[in-house]
């Protein structure tokens, strides 16, 4: 039995004529301590999948089990890092995190909560900004707050919905390393949703493509047998990396070909030169 198990999960939005089946027969098993990446595309149902696992949504049919128990509601056992940070704009960095900590440790004293908040703010190097509001922070800093908030709840599983997509390459690389450091230290289970194949290969033990929706299903998995810690520059020379990367990209490009519509209309271009504005 897996740590997290999805069995024949279907999700449909709307009813009758307006029904759209977003997810179609999703089967997924993740073991304790594993890092799995799901590579998906715009509109393929990635966020729906994450929200089913964290308990914000219920499947139309099928089963989702976490540590053997059916997922019926959200729980701080599964911490989520959202793409759009989802911080409360009127609360400071510290207050945003404190709210999550109180939720996860309802019986603890004020002192404990205060210490835990500063510990995680420090971990993401934001102590100087602990009293700032989200709007005073850059995108990268906001996402750091979201990372700290998710981890401060001491979740047993980390769910990440394209957490780094909106960031520039440099910030992205740094945060990837920070997330990996925390993941490997406490050996938590992690599920990362991303549209970046390289991010998936760098971080995960397994990569599973999510085919574009409607009726999105999971594709064949790709195992990443590369020792950790991984080095981005060395990866480039690793034959297994190249082989796996090419196989995944080829698979995704294949999906792209399938998706292309075959237009039959014919348009003719008149043979005309634009006006010469220089002469």
């Amino acid at each position: 039995m897996g740590y997290l198990e999805l069995k024949e999960v279907y999700k449909t939005y709307g009813e009758g004529k307006n029904a759209t089946e977003v997810l179609h027969n999703i089967n997924l098993t993740i073991q304790e301590g594993e890092f799995v990446a799901i590579v998906g595309f715009t509109g393929s149902g990635k966020t729906t999948l994450v929200n089913l696992i964290n308990g914000l949504l219920k499947p139309t049919s099928g089963e989702i089990r976490f540590k053997g128990k059916a997922v019926v509601d959200t729980s701080h056992e599964r911490g989520v890092i959202f793409q759009n940070y989802s911080l409360l704009p009127w609360l400071s960095v510290g207050q945003n995190i404190a709210m999550a900590v109180k939720e996860a440790f309802p019986d603890e004293k004020r002192e404990f909560i205060k210490n835990r908040v500063s510990q995680y703010v420090e971990m993401v190097n934001l102590l100087p900004a602990i009293n700032k509001r989200p709007k005073e922070l850059s995108g990268g800093m906001r996402q750091r707050v979201a990372v700290a908030r998710a981890l401060a709840m001491n979740p047993e599983m980390i769910l990440m919905d394209e957490p780094l997509s909106a960031l520039d390459a440099l910030t992205r690389g740094n945060l990837q390393d920070e997330i990996l450091k925390i993941w490997s230290k406490d050996k938590r289970t992690a599920l990362l949703i991303t549209n970046d194949v390289d991010e998936g290969i760098y971080m995960a033990d397994r990569i599973i493509p999510l085919k574009p929706g409607p009726k999105a299903t999971l594709g064949p998995e790709f195992k990443i047998d590369i020792e950790r810690p991984r080095d981005k520059t060395e990866l480039n020379d690793n034959p297994h990396y190249k082989k796996t990367r090419n196989a995944i990209i080829e698979y995704l490009m294949g999906i792209g070909e399938e998706r292309k519509t075959t237009a039959t209309a014919f348009y003719e271009l008149p043979e005309l030169a634009p006006k010469n504005f220089v002469a």
Binding site: F41, T42, G43, D168, A169, L170, N195, D196, V197, P212, K232, T233, N236, D237, K242, R245, N246, I249, E250, L252, M253, I255, G256, R259, K260, T261, A263, A265, Y267, E268, L269, P270, L272, A273, P274, K275, F277, V278
Partner: protein
């Protein structure tokens, strides 16, 4: 297309110039200064770049190094502090239809249909054509980018990927000599990105125009380019290195990925970006 007789080392940076009759775009000793309350900030200095006719050049560099500043200066949208920019030997005076721009965000008129957005430029550049001819031009390019069913959809009803397709059609439809692209696919997922790269290369190849494209995606830079230009980090950014990509065209992604040089090129660029 770039012929094989041009070596990697033959860049203006190394004091070697290309033959004048082959140069489309010539950037000489370009300088850009932004005044700030703390004094002048020199974004670009001593920037020299020559781009050949029908060449596809990609530009990479760290965010904030001045890539967009340079491209907007070539487009004529940003005044030049020092140096020259010339297209076919003629110094540029502001923006013009000889240089088409595709921006990072599609920058369409949201209340106009896809067709109207493309027609906007076509009407200005083909004043001598009939209305039906002008429409035919716009439709031809919208069809090329795969928007057959969406001619009359308003821009704000289209997905981001579709809007960017309209942006590509709009730029090609005015038949520019040089196409300037500022991270056009940066906001798209990798599947849509791959599709649009293929469309871009197909039209570029057919129209035989010159293309200069900023990207932060190393794979995109290699796959599309004849040469990859690496910019140093600012302030005073300039061209740091140039990598010639020897793959034959047309390029199939699979063949390119499996080519023994591919990961060498990739390593070269990643090394540059990480140091």
């Amino acid at each position: 297309m770039l012929t094989q007789d041009i070596k990697l080392s033959e860049t203006p940076e190394n004091g070697i110039s290309f033959p004048t009759d082959r140069i489309m775009l010539d950037v000489k000793d370009l300088k850009k200064v932004y005044p700030t309350p703390k004094g002048d900030y020199v974004v670009l200095e001593n920037l020299n770049l020559q781009i050949l006719k029908e060449e596809f050049v990609t530009i990479i560099g760290h965010s904030g190094c001045g890539k967009t500043t340079m491209l907007s200066m070539i487009a004529g949208l940003n005044p030049i502090t020092g140096g020259d920019i010339a297209v076919l030997g003629n110094p540029i005076k502001g923006p013009g239809p000889d240089r088409g721009v595709i921006f990072q965000s599609p920058s369409l008129m949201p209340w106009m249909s896809a067709l109207q957005n493309v027609m906007l430029g076509v009407n200005r550049v083909f004043p001598h054509a009939s209305r039906s001819q002008r429409k035919a031009i716009a439709k031809y390019y919208l069809h090329k980018v795969g928007l057959d069913g969406a001619f009359h959809k308003k821009a704000n009803e289209l997905s981001q990927g579709m809007q960017q397709r309209v942006g590509i059609a709009r730029a090609f439809a005015i038949k520019p000599k040089v196409l300037l692209l500022d991270e056009p696919f940066g906001m798209l997922d990798s599947l849509t990105r791959g599709e649009l790269q293929d469309i871009l290369i197909e039209i570029w190849n057919k129209e035989k125009i010159t293309a200069v494209m900023i990207t932060h995606d190393v794979d995109e830079a290699i796959f599309l380019a004849d040469r990859v230009v690496m910019m140093t980090s600012g302030p005073r950014a300039k061209i740091g290195d140039v990598l010639k990509i020897g793959f034959e065209r047309p390029r199939a992604r699979k063949t390119v990925l499996e080519h023994e040089d591919y990961y060498k090129y990739r390593k070269h660029l990643i090394d540059f970006l990480e140091h």
